[in-house]
Subunit: 505 residues, 2 copies
Amino acid sequence: MLNRVRSAVAHLVSSGGAPPPRPKSPDLSNAPSAQPAVPPEASKSPPVRAGSGSSAPAKTVEARTSFSRPTFLQLSPGGLRRADDHAGRAVQSPPNTGRRLPWSTGYAEVINAGKSRHNEDQACCEVVYVEGRRSISGVPREPSQGQGLCFYYWGLFDGHAGGGAAEMASRLLHRHIREQLKDLVEILQDPSPPPLCLPSTPGAPGSSDPSHLVGPQSCWSSQKEVTHESLVVGAIENAFQFMDEQMARERHGHQVEGGCCALVVVYLLGKVYVANAGDSRAIIVRNGEVIPMSREFTPETERQRLQLLGFLKPELLGGEFTHLEFPRRIQPKELGQRMLYRDQNMTGWAYKKIELEDLRFPLVCGEGKKARVMATIGVTRGLGDHNLKVCSSTLPIKPFLSCFPEVRVYDLTQYEHCPDDVLVLGTDGLWDVTSDCEVAATVDRVLSAYEPNDPSRYTALAQALVLGARGTPRDRGWRLPNNKLGSGDDISVFVIPLGGPGSYS
Amino acid sequence: MLNRVRSAVAHLVSSGGAPPPRPKSPDLSNAPSAQPAVPPEASKSPPVRAGSGSSAPAKTVEARTSFSRPTFLQLSPGGLRRADDHAGRAVQSPPNTGRRLPWSTGYAEVINAGKSRHNEDQACCEVVYVEGRRSISGVPREPSQGQGLCFYYWGLFDGHAGGGAAEMASRLLHRHIREQLKDLVEILQDPSPPPLCLPSTPGAPGSSDPSHLVGPQSCWSSQKEVTHESLVVGAIENAFQFMDEQMARERHGHQVEGGCCALVVVYLLGKVYVANAGDSRAIIVRNGEVIPMSREFTPETERQRLQLLGFLKPELLGGEFTHLEFPRRIQPKELGQRMLYRDQNMTGWAYKKIELEDLRFPLVCGEGKKARVMATIGVTRGLGDHNLKVCSSTLPIKPFLSCFPEVRVYDLTQYEHCPDDVLVLGTDGLWDVTSDCEVAATVDRVLSAYEPNDPSRYTALAQALVLGARGTPRDRGWRLPNNKLGSGDDISVFVIPLGGPGSYS
């Protein structure tokens, strides 16, 4: 997330402000987990203070509690220092010696070239067990492993304006998903269509009688069919919302600074759910072909949603912004002339006479990576950002940001996958300088150099992708082989093999 | 538009209320047109009163001024009566003897099987000349044909709850498009990028100086590139809005009853612009393959837009509706239980505890052709409907309807078309019973039976499509060869050949 928030990043870097302490969740911090999100040793690690900018690693060490890298990297204090070195930009991956990630997932990351003090990307990879909250038949069940559900989970979180939100999301979002799935444990394992209505309390009289639950139809002639798949989608969507609400609640006490894009994969009962809120990206490379599994949410792609909101709720614009889009800033002396504009309902452009309120700054402006909402932020979905204000103003930006992901579903059982078929997740540091097709070419090149049953091939691939996007230091910058600039952003990549889920783990 | 508005249609049919007199447009009624939208003889035609339902043609004749069919059908009074006969449902096409439609366009229509008194579809096909309003250089131009622009225009308007809106749109929408294009005549013919800013008045000092017009950049580092194509899209979008506003202004004086879907094609400078607001559909059949050129706007496809509006502006729900979606109506006795729901941000479903306000009727309910907004209307975009209220209520529905079309652009110059390549426009009467592929098969079957240079083949194709959707009377209904019910709706079809624009006209 390079240069995507104008004010806060600069502030954080220049003031040397430490990222916030680790937030606690009253809802979820005590919830059991198959694998602790933060192992005890992480908080015991000697805190380090990394160098900022592209200077040599800093030598000072001060008390810090929350800066961390994903626990599966198993970084020693020295390793943590090296991972935090903007000058060397060493690529980090889980050690070959330790426990492999589920499905032999490959992972690699590299810190930015100095745009923020620490790597603001975070990652999480877990196997999560969901115990049913109760029986839908109304009879309380014995808590036993056999009746629960497992899901596999991968998350990439690209932070901006501080690392707090990304760190919190990487620790807690999968727990929110687990919470949402608790009600569905029995329903998802029952092949019959989900009940439309559930009893309020287990064992309530009559409430488990299906004929009562369905009830007579009023003026609707039929009831909608709701699929199991759409229940999982709804659970993931609501988990994102609860995660965001938790950040809002705890932002004062725990200083959940900044916000983050979130790209999450859930594998459950044969299906892969890819949920994206932000500008990270997921693609499947299958038999050499690219299948997009997400789209990016930016001021350009969400222009009409943003403008509609500004149009319907002009108070959110605070008299400082106009919901109309113009192709460039209007000069006061142009008042009365006619300028091209787009309103919230338009995809084309037309001319309008410039009036006084058109001189306000447009809610959405700029193009490509420079596009901004309220001249401030370059992504329009994600978690956090509850404190984000317009530069030199008290106007909050959060109302224009959405925490809801778009969820795409891929049925793993519909296609026989080979070991070279992979799902690649990357933060925008990867995609800013690498096209989908280039990733597919790297998949082919790297995987064909390894035996199909060598589980280390996916980490090698993730490393190759990160290195290919970072480049090498040359001519006062990080450069790609074609001499173009590499990505100076944090870069994080998961490579999830689709060819044999579970067979490597 | 069969059964898509619950209350008003029934009222109109049962009360025998006459459609409104022809509305006048203060803005546009005096504007010159290459071909008068309504030839003088139309208003002189002996008015007829057609039979309603599936009974024999009515014999009574009463004074009516506005019921009409497209002028290019050149219907005699007797022909008009036959076109209005619900029992015979004779397919209507332009006569072979008269002037052909531009591009040898094929057209056919048939009245409904009795669901409304008259055929509420309307159609328009015109060649429209646009004279530039002024020179962008600031020097007033001589009005001369050579400096203007021509566009070809086809429109299908599927009325509901009365024929007034469809009739008005068929007479005036292309004039609104012409009005919007007047400013663009010079710009569109100039290969350089459109100016971002125009002088307020022709010849104003300094206003034609491009360096002044562009001006220095403020905090935006670059200005957006706006294409000629996007100006035409913007012109069409705004024309729809002005048409809708004119209907709002004139609805009291001229009784512009009901509303209509609008599907419009503009051919201008090598490109085909397909603008759709409603549930009509356009497809291109090229080399036997189907290219969708529109999508339908219904309570199902626009659920999230509608829910968002109800969520942001709850006053529009009048305390009668909830913006949440439920898979069926909730019973009062289910209060406190947990029901599946979808909120405006969700594509999946989740359970929520039923509260008192969830007992309100959902803003969006039903499925497929039975989906409704506020239990009333089954399309969510179109023109008119300014008087439409929720059944037995004063709550207006118009705020939830959008008059803005989605515009898709097809570049005719990018592909060498053969005489069998066509653009097919149809109201939902066609598409309710005919798939895209079936249309493509009919295109192949009918056109191959005619010489490629026989201009009557496109009308034969339009007739075949309409007949195929209507079926034949059998077993107390109109039935297709497979014995399924044919469409009892009004059916209208344009077939526009792409293989030789202008070569037949």
